[in-house]
Symmetry: C2
Subunit: 258 residues, 2 copies
């Protein structure tokens, strides 16, 4: 088999999902006539593959899960949405008059977020962007984006970049997933193999695939709150509160120590 082309798979997918959403532009059609839903395909390094409807990246507040609504209430001051995607939550915050900036590494995602009306966007990594002189009061990591912390190797640099961008009293509001409640043998075996390699059990090694394009392989972390606390040690950030009323999903609020 030929390997897929490496590129902005997420952005390609978001562009198509947006075209389907508004019913205009180049859209996936079966036989050139029947609309097809846009599907996100996630491939994991153990050979597991999962598909999901991409439409949720464009969902309206009425269709959000309850923890997304509660996350909004934790936002203070200037907000940086890290991994803004198609702007699902950022656009709602902007609508409410909150000073919101959307950051993403996907050019396609930023393009769609802007088309949808998000005014302040940044196409960059947090590392590069942290050399800018802007400061934020809240870093918002929704849609499971606590996963961007990746694991033991990446967490210190990622959290240091956010600290450089932090105004006094800044907080991180991040939605995570505790993966360890499962009894699915495929998942349990994956957690064990990960630990045997010195990784967190839920430290996913994945890539996105969309049509002929694949992202690079990257780590994405599903971790318990205990594991999150381990990752925060020595970073200057501390866990202030955890909302886990929608377990296994949770909202973690972290603050910079003075």
């Amino acid at each position: 088999m030929t390997e897929p082309t490496t590129g902005d798979a997420f952005g390609e997918m978001i562009r198509d999902a947006y075209a389907v959403h508004i019913g205009a532009g180049r859209r996936p059609l079966a036989g050139g006539r029947y609309p097809r839903p846009v599907i996100e395909v996630i491939e994991r390094d153990d050979g597991l593959i999962n598909g999901a409807l991409a439409a949720h990246y464009l969902s309206e507040p009425a269709d959000w899960r309850p923890f997304d609504h509660r996350a909004m209430t934790f936002c203070r001051g200037r907000v940086l949405d890290v991994g803004v995607g198609a702007g699902r939550t950022a656009i709602e915050l902007q609508r409410r008059g909150i000073a919101i900036t959307g950051l993403d590494t996907s050019a396609g995602a930023i393009e769609v977020a802007r088309k949808r009306g998000l005014r302040d966007t940044v196409l960059n990594t947090v590392d590069e962007f942290s050399r800018a002189s802007v400061r934020y009061d809240t870093f918002l990591l929704l849609g499971n984006n606590l996963g961007l912390i990746e694991g033991r190797e990446r967490a210190p640099a990622f959290l240091a970049a956010l600290a450089r961008l932090a105004a006094p009293g800044a907080r991180i509001v991040a939605q995570g997933t505790d993966p360890y409640g499962t009894t699915d043998p495929v998942q349990v075996a994956y957690h064990e193999e990960n630990r045997a390699r010195g990784r967190f059990g839920g430290q996913l090694r994945i890539r996105l695939r969309y049509r002929e394009v694949a992202s690079d392989w990257f780590d994405y972390l599903n971790c318990s709150v205990d594991e999150l606390e381990e990752l925060l040690k020595g970073t200057g950030w501390r866990l202030k509160s955890v909302d886990d009323q929608d377990h296994p999903y949770y909202l973690a609020v972290m603050e910079l120590m003075e």
Copy 2:
């Protein structure tokens, strides 16, 4: 990356899609609580990947495409549904009092078709099954299953197996797709590469993936009616009629020459 396990990916998918459909049994749930649609993932040998909702394998007649309804009217006498899947059309034919047998190579698909009430099922290839002494008046290949003819290498043996199972005056009713109307550069390039290798342009080399399981790689043919006629030469089958009012989809009816 670890390669997926080879197995009955189609059957695993159909089992899960059926559990979601009836709302009982082991079902895919996000975070152990939110229902997830079952997605069919098809990987092609050029690196292309496509996801589609598996629910259509269980769709009711009200949701079928028009050509599926017209296909029903071409059935005569005893019918063998080749690649019966979850029994989408076979169960409707049975309901109408038609003598219908469902054949599939997927154990999971046959299991689900039986659970849904299809009484006469065969878990086998057409090649092996053609040594049986039963005879059919109609071979039904819906859901794009004209594709099972694969290409120049496989077509003679496949059509010979159906001929061995044929009662006098038997017909094949097959739904195909003409792939050549596209201007999508990915598809056009694939067609050209295929032809350069002596294959039909639309001779897909694909495998199904579902969770940790992948099917073997197999050929599946999207062909024009002209290409179908080329494949029929010397096989004893001839094209009797083509219904292409839902172009690029078509229904081909083939008959055994006396």
